[in-house]
Subunit: 496 residues, 2 copies
């Protein structure tokens, strides 16, 4: 290994293994028969181990070191090398044993979580979860930190983000968003009962597919399946898949999860295929990823413009069920701000209280001020405190999310970050694109997609999240954009 080309080849090889593992993961969550789990876990562990060994190959490290001081490289090449070299040095702090253990553990934990959730029995998941938490604590010490061990976990999903910054974000949420939510809740007269009729699965599915197509999601480079928890994944920019779940007694569940995952997939489909395997062919961070899904889900998919035509389309699928619901009622209903039990079904404002609860729990776990046995009761207490909700069962409480079963701690805050980025990006897009509202009304979202492609997607990791935000919007992340958006929209809806 001696040249930039060798570097690229080695990166591609590593990425091929990660992408293969993604196929196995996708299959595990969508199609795999239940007995398949044991050997699947072993296979994923082997792939993780091989990828890790290749990523920490000492010859690769030497090449990176050499290329890192090679002035003949252009800007993009230098950026790739810089990020790969940082990644290499970070990975060296782990060990093959750690990676193997992590892979086996997450496969086991995912299966345990699934059964625990089905059976509403936290105890089935408890041991796996406890082992995963131990692994994460160990990881914090392995990697090292200046201020807070949780910084290590945040950094995995949102490079450079600090716990202290997340604290500031949630202080904004508490200081500004919570009072506004309170004001709404005193005025809340929206009737959304019609969402909770029986809506045929197949028809919901077909409607979801239509929405995805309209967004510009390319079905020749992707597909949709059903899974317990909606997600998007990718095996290359030419194979970016989404999943959804359909609740026949709740129409809203499918619609916005579909648009949300579609937004993620559009980001992946917009990465440049010539950069496959390289940092510049990869998404920046989960926060930026979430900004894409949230932008489509909320700023487009919950806007009055979006439903002008699409509500007619929806009515053509369910003429009987929706015959007494007009367009305005529908728009209000899909923006019903109301405390609820399930994060993924929450409105775009109370959503951040769900995230805050998870953030506080994770921080307390890592700080060792909370132990696993007390997780369900703490969960329930915080839901009462922040959302005034009584949690009726662990399935709908502490077991509702897949993330911990994947060993993902430090992940949730990126959801809130993503929403705030989304508001800031959409504000800029609205200024850049002439007549964006009427374009959305006419289902012409291609201009918006092109704007996102050009300004965000095609860059891959060319810039850090903060840098990108500044480049695109003129300033770094600013909570004001989200708050302004919320006030402007909901003041009208609730006639505040």
């Amino acid at each position: 290994m001696n040249t930039y080309l060798d570097y690229k080849e080695h990166c591609k090889k590593i990425y091929d293994i990660y992408m293969s593992a993604s196929v196995l993961n996708w299959d595990q969550e969508t199609h795999m028969p239940k007995n398949g789990n044991k050997f699947r876990a072993q296979q994923l562990s082997t792939l993780a181990k091989i990828a890790y060994e290749l990523s920490t190959d000492i010859k690769f490290g030497k090449l990176l070191e050499k290329l890192n001081s090679d002035d003949s490289l252009n800007f993009d090449q230098k950026r790739n090398i810089e990020l790969s070299y940082n990644d290499f040095k970070k990975k060296l702090k782990y060990s093959t044993k750690f990676v193997e253990r992590q892979s086996l553990l997450t496969s086991r934990a995912f299966q345990d979580w699934r059964i625990a959730k089905e059976n509403n029995d936290f105890n089935i998941f408890k041991n796996s979860l406890s082992d995963l938490i131990d692994l994460r604590k160990e990881e914090c010490e392995l990697i090292g930190y200046k201020n807070h061990p949780y910084d290590v976990l945040l950094d995995k999903y949102e490079p450079k983000l600090m716990t202290s910054e997340v604290d500031i974000i949630f202080n904004d949420v508490k200081d500004k968003l919570v009072p506004f939510i309170d004001k709404i809740s005193k005025n809340n007269i929206i009737d959304d009962k019609f969402f909770y009729q029986f809506f045929d699965k197949k028809k919901q599915w077909d409607f979801g597919i239509e929405l995805l197509k309209q967004m510009g999601y390319d079905f020749d480079s992707g597909r949709q399946d059903i899974s317990a928890h909606p997600f998007s994944t990718h095996f290359s920019p030419q194979d970016c898949r989404v999943t959804t779940r359909i609740d026949e007694n709740n129409l809203s569940d499918m619609i916005w999860s579909c648009i949300h995952e579609g937004g993620h997939a559009l980001y992946e489909q917009g990465l440049l295929k010539e950069n496959y395997g390289l940092p510049l062919g990869d998404s920046i961070s989960l926060g930026i990823h979430e900004s894409q899904s949230r932008l489509w889900e909320n700023h487009v998919g919950r806007s009055i413009h979006y439903w002008k035509k699409n509500y007619g389309l929806l009515k053509s699928y369910f003429p009987e069920k929706l015959k007494n619901v007009d367009y305005k009622q529908f728009y209000n209903a899909c923006n019903n701000v109301k405390s609820s039990l399930i994060r993924t079904n929450a409105d775009e404002l109370t959503y951040h209280l769900h995230v805050m609860i998870r953030y506080e729990i994770e921080k307390a776990i890592i700080e060792e001020s909370l132990n696993v046995d007390d997780l369900p009761s703490t969960w329930n207490r915080l839901y009462k405190e922040y959302l005034n909700i009584d949690v009726p069962s662990d399935s709908q409480g502490v077991l509702q999310d897949i993330h911990w079963s994947h060993g993902s701690f430090g992940y949730f805050p990126t959801y809130t970050l993503g929403s705030f980025y989304a508001a800031q990006f959409f504000d800029k897009a609205s200024k850049d694109i002439t007549d964006i509202d009427s374009k959305i009304e006419n289902g012409e979202t291609k201009t918006l997609l092109d704007w996102l492609r050009k300004n965000i997607h095609k860059n891959g990791k060319r810039y850090d999240a903060s840098e990108l935000c500044k480049k695109v919007t003129g300033e770094t992340l600013n909570f004001k954009y989200f708050m302004d958006y919320a006030k402007n929209k909901y003041t009208k809806i609730y006639d505040l």
Copy 2:
């Protein structure tokens, strides 16, 4: 690497990669969006390369050499080592470059074949096919042979089988089976037109699933999907999948492909999971594999006993379509011996003429007496000669099978071999199992499955195909069993 345990661990690691590649292959043929192919091909090539490198690791070779003369090992352990060592020495003759090229080529060829078949245009597939043939010829020289280069290709699927032996088999077919088929065809008055009505896809699917369940196929360790060409695959004994295709204008297509692939999957589900990754956890050969699918498809699934109850079940799915067809008519129709165009739909007698045509073509290609340009015309000429059929299009002719697109040459003869093994095994099973006919009539095939599990499946590669055949039936493969079965059955059906 120093102990038998190290050997096992290394084998499992290699097998994990092969099984991961199988998941990627399964996905490619069932679910992958069309643009996914380019990177999928690259990912499969990377996995193949890594598996090859691990398989030919010099330290692994040294360990095998050492263990191969370790007298403290038991019979099974010795057998594992013997086979692994042979495999190691054989693999050393290849190169990483060869393996990589092969993987990329087969992925490309599969895609070309699919498009060529869809568009009925052999030219789209021609270049890929030609490259694959060159690769196979190169392989014959790399591996070396005593008598015929085609021996090298046969050995990949049916260890130790010689071209000269296949010639003898097809001489039997020509001398004994062909005259018997001629006799039938002069007497053929079977009416099977009812098969070619419209049969709803969903109902066919559901009926197929019922048949699979009845056979003892474990859906907790498998699943069925739709693909262009039915196949079975496995990722472990606990995840063995089948695919089918459904022609709404031909009921018979789905039924027997379903039973056939189910038979393959039962073999894989019957391998011992503690032997995962080792030769004793692997099937013996394609011939023995095919004996399992053919035994279920023909000796069970086309027997008069099998349909005694199941025809009632089928009628409950399609009462209108089948109202004028009685059980006896149905049995006769599914044993209609008649020249046809498509191998996979052929009756169990003329089937071997389809195989013979492919065998002759492959041999001629490897002997270089036939070139790719002349493949379609040769195909059509031989179908006229052996089956008296005019081939209306290449899609239904030379492009009908997936095998060449996978680079599989030397594979087809194992189909015929498998049928003949099936007859011999079933003859023995019928002697061992009391009242096998009435058991099959009552849908009680568990006794038969147990017999197969005990005598065949659970052994894995403990014995060679010939050895196993002798152990189970008292003699090596003997064409007489198939011929006797055919004569006995069809003399009655056709009142010869």
